[in-house]
Amino acid sequence: MATALNLDIAQELNITIRKGDTFSFDLTAQDKDGNGIDVSDYKFDMDIRDGSSNDRSAVVMSTTADVVEGEPIPLVTVNGLADGTITVRAVRTDSEKLNEGSYLYDIQATTANGATSQTWFYGSFIVNDDVSDFI
């Protein structure tokens, strides 16, 4: 009988936003007693990409400033705070640059010394189309 060893702790969290809207949500890390865990020393990386490719050019939004095909990638910020709150946020001018569609994303957490990196969340990232343009 085979024994499984699963070191993947990532949890699926599917996200839907509306193109051209600011999006912002919190993730709150707690210990077993329900107290906030200080995550201010963690570095969080988030990429949202077209699921059809693993190439960097498929990234449509990222915490890492980059240029793909001559255009800056729209930015999302992920910040960890001392009370356990992880804020995820993108401004409307960046979400406006996303095309309607279904994407994939994950959020990786890396300790301050860089020794440990784990994927905490992953899932679909759906962008609903909007009607009005922001002027």
Binding site: L7, I9, L27, T28, D83
Partner: protein
């Protein structure tokens, strides 16, 4: 057919995480809920002064009364002299109430704002739990080494802890002639950059422990549980230009040129818990500093 509009709430995903140091490597999503917002916390405050209450007051416009958003507290001009005034280029470039320092003879002539409760003037005292918060910025020529802090006043029949985000705004605690075990020396060395906004939340829990949190929810300081002093809140002297420093603060007043601008200040007369107190610092920062709400 009626059309119902609802405002989408910011969401918060609560998850439990263990990093493996206690024989457990796990991450579990517990629930998705509406994220805590500033008003969720501040609705329970005992007094809450918001610069928005003074909306419409022009630059340098005199303020004779600043009313709390909750209960019937007011800060009122204490005399017949010039009132404190609104600085439209205050905290983070927004409007603030400006409390001048004594170096400006014109400004220092202004009278302080005295706390009133239902029209009756008086200080605010508590011997138990509290949470105090303030959003402020020094209007200084140089960085400030004299900090908004909690410190002990040496000498005299009483010793005090003092929290002072600026000249004339303070909380002080009293306890007879007992020796205080004071552990804020590192915090007291903090330097505050000129023209930079800060948030401080000071919390005293049921055991008498005092914690100070900043705009990133980080703990700035803690007074050990041996110090179970009572506290008075010097709101009756908010904006005062003298007496406090000499009488209570042992000569640690901010240097010349360090007026303070405030756009939110208030307190709870009970402990709201560490998580909410930390979140309060972060959410005040979101609203008044990073403006990401």
């Amino acid at each position: 057919m009626a059309t119902k509009f609802t405002i989408p709430s910011k969401q918060n995903v609560v998850f439990k995480y263990s990093d493996g140091s206690v024989d457990d490597l796990s991450l579990d999503i517990l629930r998705v809920e509406n994220a805590l917002i500033l008003n969720d916390i501040l609705k329970d405050a005992d007094m809450d002064f918001d610069i928005a209450s003074l909306e419409g007051t022009t630059h340098n416009g005199a303020v004779s009364t600043w009313s709390s958003l909750v209960n019937n507290y007011t800060l009122e001009n204490s005399g017949t002299g010039q009132a404190q005034y609104v600085e439209t280029g205050g905290v983070n470039g927004g409007p603030s109430l400006y409390f001048a320092d004594a170096s400006d003879t014109f400004k220092s002539a202004r009278k302080h704002l005295a706390l009133h409760n239902n029209g009756v003037k008086g200080e605010y005292s508590t011997t138990g739990e509290f949470v105090f918060y303030v959003v402020f910025e020094y209007n200084a020529l140089t960085d400030i080494d004299i900090q908004p802090t909690i410190l002990s006043r040496e000498g005299g029949s009483n010793q005090h802890y003092v929290f002072r985000p600026g000249k004339g705004v303070e909380i002080y605690g009293k306890q007879g002639a007992e020796t205080l075990d004071f552990a804020l020396s590192e915090y007291n060395k903090n330097s505050f950059a000129k023209s930079t906004p800060y948030v401080r939340v000071v919390r005293r829990d049921k055991d008498g422990d005092i914690s100070v949190y900043d705009e990133a929810s980080a703990s700035m300081a803690a007074i050990p549980p041996t110090n179970k002093v009572g506290f008075d809140f010097g709101f009756s002297n908010i904006g005062a230009q003298d007496t406090l420093d000499n009488a209570r603060n042992g000569g640690t007043q901010p240097p010349i040129g360090s007026g303070v601008m405030i756009n939110r200040i208030g307190l709870f007369n009970s402990d709201i818990g560490a998580q909410k107190a930390q979140a309060l610092g972060r959410l005040l920062s979101d609203k008044y500093i990073t403006q990401t709400t």
